[in-house]
């Protein structure tokens, strides 16, 4: 059983590998229920992998992933299908269906996962699009939308089934300042008013720190630090300081492990 109801998601001793390379090594992460939790770290450190582990799209080599009282890696395929209804994901790419209009994109999870009649599907789609300010765009196709609008339609789709947990994968990437501000406000509003647990994976320090109640900094296959944004800003841990202050090199190396540069270019002497 999951030990504490105060947490919506708990990773316990999770190890994940790609081939021989260890992406996460015995990691513990607890996501407080009803809060916005940021998971930060440099690009390529495995943040999206963490989200996929929480959504059970990936299985850990070892460890437990508890969501809503269930250890996901032990669930059957059909139980996983049910468990995922409670989780919404805003993908980095938006991942809208390009051959469906805005209405049908948002209606899609309702059609797949519920038996609701068409009139109620319409109500709910219009409500979700109203919340993100795009009810007027129901007939548009994705290629008629700006990047910011696509992200908001994807958000409307992610909340279509009223998920208890909403995961955002790099929500701020490629957004202009206005779209960024809109997204930041929406994430906070949906979290607080709908009682959602929000997990924001991002390397955008300022935006994430501005909305997160709690932050994890990951890198080098482990949790480097955790705490409130203020606590992490004041941390004297050199690994955390490097990330929070944006230094290119430090305990987290700038270079991916590589053979000797001279030998690579000129051959061994």
């Amino acid at each position: 059983m999951s030990v504490d109801n105060a947490y919506a998601v708990e990773l316990k001793g999770v190890t994940f590998k790609r081939g021989a390379r260890s992406i996460f090594n015995n990691v513990d992460i607890r996501i407080p229920r009803g809060k916005v939790t940021g998971i930060m770290g440099p690009s390529g450190c495995g943040k999206t992998t963490l989200l996929r582990l929480m959504g059970a799209q990936l299985r850990p080599a070892s460890g437990e992933v508890w969501v809503a009282g269930q250890n996901l890696p032990t669930l059957s395929r059909s139980d996983l299908f049910d468990a995922r209804k409670h989780m919404g994901v805003l993908f980095q790419s938006g991942a809208l269906f390009t051959d469906l209009d805005v209405f049908e994109n948002v209606a899609f999870p309702l059609r797949v996962h519920t038996q609701l009649p068409e009139e109620m599907i319409r109500d709910i789609v219009l409500m979700k699009l109203q919340a993100v300010g795009l009810r007027g765009a129901i007939e548009l196709m994705p290629d008629e939308l700006s990047g910011g609008m696509k992200r908001r339609v994807a958000l409307a789709r992610a909340i279509a089934l009223d998920p208890q947990i909403l995961m955002y994968d790099e929500p701020f990437v490629g957004q202009d300042p206005i779209a960024m501000g809109v997204l930041v406000r929406l994430i906070r509003l949906l979290n607080d008013a709908l009682g959602i647990t929000s997990i924001v994976v991002s390397h955008d320090l300022a935006e994430t720190a501005s909305i997160a109640d709690y932050l994890y900094v990951v890198g080098d296959g482990q949790v480097l630090g955790q705490g409130t944004p203020q606590e992490l800003m004041e941390s004297d841990n050199p690994r955390i300081r490097q990330f929070m202050k944006g230094d290119p090199d430090g305990p987290v190396p700038f270079h991916f492990p590589a053979p000797d540069y001279r030998a690579d270019l000129l051959g061994k002497r």
Binding site: H113, L116, M120, D123, I124, M127, D162, A193, G195
Partner: protein, 100 residues
């Protein structure tokens, strides 16, 4: 997790329990039948017994309102719990439902 739409008094529909994707389809049918059978000139949608509502609960209120309007009834939504009211605000339905 039980939920129901029942006739609490003539012209008063009581929504109770958990209003979500599982209970929504049946509740929609229950409400439609009760509204069709009612001969009262007005319709009260009483939400005071709602334990938990997702956006499905709001859609039910809208659907029952449409039924009532089509039958020429005056409609009033009563007793919406705080959480349900909060959700209604996010989806811009606060005034729309209060004004019925």
């Amino acid at each position: 997790m039980s939920a129901a739409v029942t006739l609490a008094a003539p012209g008063v529909l009581s929504l109770s329990g958990v209003l979500d994707y599982r209970t929504g389809p049946v509740l929609r049918k229950q409400g439609r039948a009760l509204i069709a059978a009612s001969r009262e000139p007005s319709l009260v949608l009483d939400c005071s017994a709602v334990e938990l509502s997702s956006s499905v609960g709001l859609s039910l209120l809208l659907a029952f309102t449409r039924d009532g309007q089509a039958a020429g009834k005056a409609i009033e939504v009563r007793g919406m719990p705080h959480g349900m009211h909060e959700i209604a605000q996010v989806y811009g339905l606060g005034e729309l439902l209060a004004g019925q």
